[in-house]
Amino acid sequence: MVDVILQAFASIVLDPVTLGLMLVGTLAGILAGAIPGFTIAMGVILTLPFTFGMTAIQGLATMLGVFVGGFSGGLMSCMLTGIPGTPSSVATTFDGFPLVRSGRPGLALGIGLWSSFFGGMISAVILVALAPQLAFLGLEFGPWDYFSLIIFALTITVSLSGGNIVKGLIAGLLGLFAATVGEDEINGVARFTFGFDEFKQGFAFLPVLIGLFAFSQLLTDVEDDKRAKSPLMEKSGTLVRVEHKQAITIILKRWINLFRSSFIGIFTGILPAAGGSISNILAYDQAKKASKNRSNFGKGEYDGIVAPEAANNATAGGALIMMMALGIPGDIVTAVMLGALMIHNIIPGPTFIQDEPLLAYGVFIAFFVAHFFMVGLQAFSLRIFLLVTKIPMYVLASVILAYCAIGVFALHNVVFDIWVMFFFGIIGYFMKKLGFPLAPMILGVVLGKLAELNLARATAISDDLLLFISRPWSLFFLIMAIVSVIFPFYQDAKKGSQFAKIYVPASVFALALPLMFMNSSTRLVIGIVMVGISFYFIYKSFFNKRLNN
């Protein structure tokens, strides 16, 4: 094990090419995160074509640089201009911008930067500790369990991506359907090709993803004539000297907030589709509730910067845990990374860490290293950020559209892939206009083939479909899927309503049952505790009030 870790360490830290690529990746990520309208996912997607010619570890390390850099990049624009660069830095604006306006921009940036760093470090440790354990758990999964896990990943994406749940489900199903076009992997039979030879290979997942996400986003960005012609940011801020020492002291004094926010970030990252945009708000909210200085929140409170910044960087580690351990992407970024691995014929899954230890530990180390780059590059990237923000959006969009075409062609050297990207770009654009969330569709495309493969395996082993509900893990994931579909209705329900009262205890109780049948004393105990918790909730909501009345 130690020699694998050392080899992985050498492949990252002692390889100047990999280090150089990570450096460029982190810088690109910081800039992508800092520019409003650009997202981290967009940054990672645009990096992807460059990674085709790299080794798997170099490609992943570069993308991790973009991923980590992106989370901290958002804080630059939100603090200096009051406009969040990415949705994952929205809550940072609440206290970061007032602190800057009160005359402490260096300190505000320092607190944000180092909170991101510490949050990322905590999540990196959890990633290293938890991913192999979760992968070990994944070895218990049969095809029934895997299929149900994919269904859960899709339903929770639908419920967390906001908006209309029916439209979310339709988007997810359209994604699954798009993945069925072409020759099926089990029988080798052509499906929905309508006589076109090009369709036989199916739609490659990366052109679909770039089309749905990047292409459609760029079209949206240039939609408004006035906005497209004006610079990316009217106010781009000024150069600031970061107060590192004082910032670190302030953060370490708030270590409880730091750890709590980091754990919120990690947990949110593990949940499919729940990324930094949710974790930063959740962490901010919890920090405010726990603080003695609640009234200072919104006026430049240090805790209000530590919480969202620690949480959003920690989310990255959480999202990687699911991808590394089970091969299920937690968000669009990890879906792209999954695609990058597939280009190198590596399929992540429960055996990934065992089969490809060098690559797996390389990812862990790259995740650590990227955080050091992120801190080191902040001052330099601030200068570039001030320059980039003067470019009008239409220039950036036009150049990136061409770049998307070149990048997509480089994938298989086939022009048809560019047409696929264009076609899905149009679909993505109109779907967004019609109120469909795109994340479920993207995950549907990514997970479609895996779902079908596992369903085929399950039915090949036994034609008893009841196994999907009689196997504890499968039942557990199916219950999670139902709970996640009902979740938006719970959010809409009035606080005192019967449904709102029963949702949480019923969900906890239902999830406890399969846990108790897993032939493990630990899980039995967890199941019993969960049953106890659900009864406590019922008692608290129904009987306690009646007694009080």
């Binding site: 085709f52 029916v166 039979v189 070149i406 264009f422 779902a451």
Partner: protein, 162 residues
């Protein structure tokens, strides 16, 4: 009955499902044991049909809430809103259609220049700026992919002559 976007979309999706379900009956069955190739797509399509039907029913039930202004008609669509997106579509189709002849380098430069000119305005100063931007950016990208990443990008008929 007033038309709204969801109603039209739901009907379109139902039609799409109908065509695809029908097409799934033409998927070849090689007679191997195990799950047939048409099984999984049909599950998806039936679920998609159900969801589209739910959307259609919901769009009827919310009909009363839709005022006349929001109901669907050609007059209510602001085509100008899509002007820039349509320009991008058009330019991209042009770029892809002539890629075989122009190649990635010349085609890419023309595409970026055309798009910049349409989106950013057609003054002489702008045009010169746009020409400079398109040559530099596409040139750099083309060089990175061709020489750095060793990707053979479409050369085009024009460059082949040279």
């Amino acid at each position: 009955m007033k038309l709204n976007k969801d109603k039209i979309l739901a009907v379109f999706l139902l039609l799409f499902c109908g065509v695809m379900i029908n097409s799934s009956f033409h998927i070849e069955d090689p007679g191997y044991q195990g799950m047939k190739a048409s099984y999984w797509p049909r599950i998806i399509l039936w679920l998609l049909s159900i969801m589209s039907l739910v959307m259609l029913v919901k769009s009827f039930s919310s009909e009363n809430k839709i005022d006349a202004k929001k109901s669907f008609s050609l007059e209510n669509i602001n085509f100008l809103q899509f002007k820039n997106a349509l320009i991008c579509f058009g330019m991209f189709v042009f770029f892809l259609s002539f890629l075989e002849y122009l190649g990635m380098l010349i085609g890419g430069i023309l595409f970026v220049f055309g798009l910049l000119t349409f989106l950013g305005g057609r003054t002489l100063k702008n045009s010169l700026n746009h020409l400079f931007i398109s040559i530099i950016t596409i040139g750099v990208m083309w060089s990175i992919f061709t020489f750095g990443l060793k990707v053979i990008l479409p050369e085009g008929e024009i460059l082949k002559i040279w």
